[in-house]
């Protein structure tokens, strides 16, 4: 009986944990969007772990380390001073108690070099790891949304 109760408690704890991960990471994505829209490089970079890797395919950028990430965002905000991102949807797949992948669909708007407003659909995946009880982005990968698949 004691074992059964312990198992039930463990199951309940693990279910609650999974639920927490999803809501915590989704909140992180919203925090990331707010920091990005405020062009606050320090707040953006604070959401990553100490040795992050990033792949921003739509800008041909790939790098690792907090300094490189900080440099990338500083340059991006200088080049596109009106860039704004809108989170459209976000899924979280928890792959283990301390790792998860967030998958987001975003709309980015900014003014192009010719002065015209550009709207781009961007898909992202963020691999999260739990560091001292907090979810941090280990790898950030973003790319353009491909054209829709033709219907059968």
């Amino acid at each position: 009986m004691k074992t059964a109760l312990a198992l039930i408690a463990l199951f309940a704890a693990s279910s609650a944990f999974a639920g927490d991960a999803k809501s915590e990471i989704t909140e992180q994505a919203k925090t990331w969007a707010a920091a990005c829209n405020a062009h606050d490089v320090a707040k953006v970079v604070a959401l990553y772990d100490n040795d992050p890797k990033f792949i921003y395919a739509f800008m041909g950028q790939e790098g690792s380390g907090k300094a490189a990430l900080e440099g990338f965002w500083k340059q991006s905000f200088q080049m596109t001073p009106d860039i704004a991102v809108t989170l459209q949807s976000y899924d979280v797949v928890q792959t283990s108690p301390d790792t998860a992948m967030g998958m987001g669909l975003w709309e980015d708007t900014f003014t192009g070099p010719d002065g015209k407003k550009i709207t781009a659909q961007v898909q992202t995946s963020e691999v999260y790891v739990k560091v001292k009880g907090q979810w941090k982005i280990r790898v950030d990968h973003a790319s353009f949304v491909p054209p829709p698949r033709p219907s059968k």
């Binding site: 792949i55 792959t95 949304v145």
Partner: protein
Amino acid sequence: MKYALVALALLALAPAARADAQAEAQKVNDAFIAAVNVKDPQKSVAAVLALFTEDAQHIGVFGRVHGKKELQQILPKAFADPARQGTLRAVEGLQLDPNTILAISHFDNAVSGPDGKPMSLPLRCTRVLSKQKDGRWLISAEHTSFGPPPPPPPAPAKK
């Protein structure tokens, strides 16, 4: 003293874990490319699907795909291309925890271009590999995108 020995043992195991992550990431990506390069499209799709978990998530060149069943519906069309040929360029494996490895790979994917001639597309992929009960590592989530790998870092200046 006991704690010091445990700490030493853990330190000794850390590089081994990293080496395993690299080896396993390489193994899964080699298997992926080998599967892509199987000439028979049906066998090729089956070999690729065998590398994914049932609930694997894909984001990237096929848009957003939820689960192996959805992937199974999409792959046959892409794999019907006779020019299909994958070449693995680089793999990096990172151990996230004992049951999770992150693999970052660069590979070229040859496909038939609009003019019918083969063209090569540089792709990069981040994959979450999850350890199964039988010890195999399968892809549980991945993101693939177009784009060449970054240039290699400059060689250190000679003194």
